[in-house]
């Protein structure tokens, strides 16, 4: 029994180091996707609230598509489809250069676009939660629309959006397991390979579960900390004052 656990260790024949590297890749892709996805999500949310019907239509179509298509399929389409698209663009310019997209970038783009669709809902909710008076007051103070957004709305937005964004992050963290299918050596990829070599699937997938669980628990704790921190000063007013 115990000699099996040596497979997870760092000794000769142990997969410990590989698993750690895999865990690093998982964290790296999740952290790299987060800012990209959230920023795009905020942009989509602003489009949803725009005056222009064109922008609103675009935002609705965008969220409908990326919330309705399985992440795995999105990943395949980006990974296999984007190079073809770029190649065709190159061909228009008369170049025959072939083009491949690195798995990390493909994963980041695909997961980021899905994250944007889901987080845009959270952003819209948060934007609606910020009282209209805030913007009116900013206008009365002579701030331009852009200034009012940047200096008045944005700083308050984060606090309101945090619980929803925390959920988005947890979902993203788990979704990164899908990038293993486009050969990015994350936890799932490493454990799948370890399984092929050692024929110990229960041990290795169990270890992968444990790693993901630890990441989730740490994230839940971190999000809770952030929420407490961003809500400081609000408790005295009943906690929900806007």
């Amino acid at each position: 029994m115990f000699d099996k656990f040596a497979l997870l260790g760092f000794g000769p024949g142990g997969w410990g180091l590989a698993l750690l590297q895999g865990a690093g890749i998982t964290i790296a892709i999740a952290l790299a996707t987060l800012p990209f996805g959230l920023a795009l999500g905020l942009a989509v949310a602003l489009c949803k609230r725009a005056d222009s019907a064109l922008l609103r239509g675009f935002a609705t179509v965008y969220t409908t598509i990326f919330r309705g298509v399985p992440e795995l399929l999105t990943l395949y389409i980006i990974y296999f489809g984007l190079p073809i698209l770029v190649q065709q663009l190159f061909a228009l310019a008369g170049s025959t250069a072939s083009f491949a997209i690195p798995p990390f970038l493909a994963g980041m783009v695909a997961l980021g676009m899905v994250l944007a669709a889901f987080s845009s809902e959270v952003w819209v909710g948060a934007l609606n939660a910020i009282h209209k008076g805030q913007r009116e007051a900013a206008a009365a103070l002579g701030l331009s629309n852009a200034q009012a957004f940047r200096l008045v709305v944005l700083p308050q937005l984060f606090r309101v959006a945090l619980p929803g964004l925390g959920n988005n992050w947890m979902v993203l963290l788990k979704e990164t397991s899908l990038v293993s299918v486009i050969t990015l050596p994350d936890i799932m990829f490493i454990t799948t390979r370890a399984n092929v070599v050692t024929k110990e699937p229960f041990l290795f997938f169990g270890a992968a579960m444990a790693i993901y669980l630890v990441f989730s628990l740490i994230s839940a704790w971190g999000v809770a900390r952030l929420e407490t921190r961003s809500n400081r000063g609000f408790a005295a007013f009943g906690g929900t004052t806007r």
Partner: protein, 238 residues
């Protein structure tokens, strides 16, 4: 020509015509997987939610451990653990006569999806039950209703309405997540499309599959919206 070859024929996509029937079969498997796992998961979730709220201390701890575990790890990982991991103990399963179950990717995927969605639905139901105002419990206590009668006749009908929307979201999430079943050699819609792509190298097949999923999700969303309106038609604000 079979009916499932027509869509490809009509739009003049040869590969869709060739693999249309496989994809239609795949869609059937996806629908079966989702329908069975979400409905069985719902029953399981009801038990879990009640156990989590009203059970003895050990049961509460056990249920919250269960939900944390299944909500904190990726579905893909759970699926691999069940299909490859539990499949490792072949001799044991043969001894207890369950090998037929753990040998098949379909039953493994079904099991995984069921326990996974049960964890998510249990949390939804727990939240919904907890959102029912306290006065409702006290009122039914004052009327002399038994605990179970309170739960069944007073609390649940109100909690279900609150849970309706998140449950619909969970159904949609399961439709999308079921695509990972293709990674344990199951030919669901995603698996059939992967197979077709591997043979034809026609990327547009993925786009057609995306369109099918999209239409499926939109139909479910709209039907659910109708369903929700219908069930809440007695309420003043909606």
């Amino acid at each position: 020509m079979n009916w499932c070859e027509y869509p490809g024929y009509w739009i003049g996509a040869e590969s869709l015509q060739n693999y249309g029937c496989r994809m239609a079969n795949g869609l059937g498997i996806t629908l079966q997987l989702v329908a069975y796992s979400v409905s069985v998961g719902f029953v399981l979730a009801l038990l879990l939610a009640v156990g989590r709220l009203y059970g003895p201390k050990w049961l509460r701890v056990a249920v919250s451990g269960y939900t944390t575990f299944f909500r904190g790890t990726p579905l893909l990982c759970q699926l691999f653990l069940v299909y490859y991991g539990l499949g490792q103990f072949r001799l044991f399963w043969q001894d207890v006569g369950l090998w037929w179950f753990f040998r098949e990717p379909f039953s493994c995927a079904l099991l995984t999806f069921t326990v996974n969605t049960a964890a998510y639905q249990a949390e939804i139901l727990r939240g919904a039950i907890q959102s029912v105002p306290r006065g409702q419990f006290e009122g039914s206590l004052a009327l002399g209703l038994h605990r179970w009668a309170t739960l069944r006749l007073v609390v649940m009908p109100q909690a279900m309405i609150l849970a309706l929307r998140p449950l619909g979201n969970e159904l949609i999430v399961m439709i999308k997540s079921s695509a990972v079943a293709s990674l344990v050699t199951l030919f669901d819609l995603m698996g059939a499309t992967r197979f077709a792509f591997a043979r034809s190298f026609d990327l547009s097949l993925y786009l057609y599959a995306a369109l099918i999923y999209l239409v499926l999700v939109e139909i479910v969303r709209r039907v659910w919206e109708r369903f929700e309106l219908r069930l809440t038609r007695h309420m003043a604000l909606r």
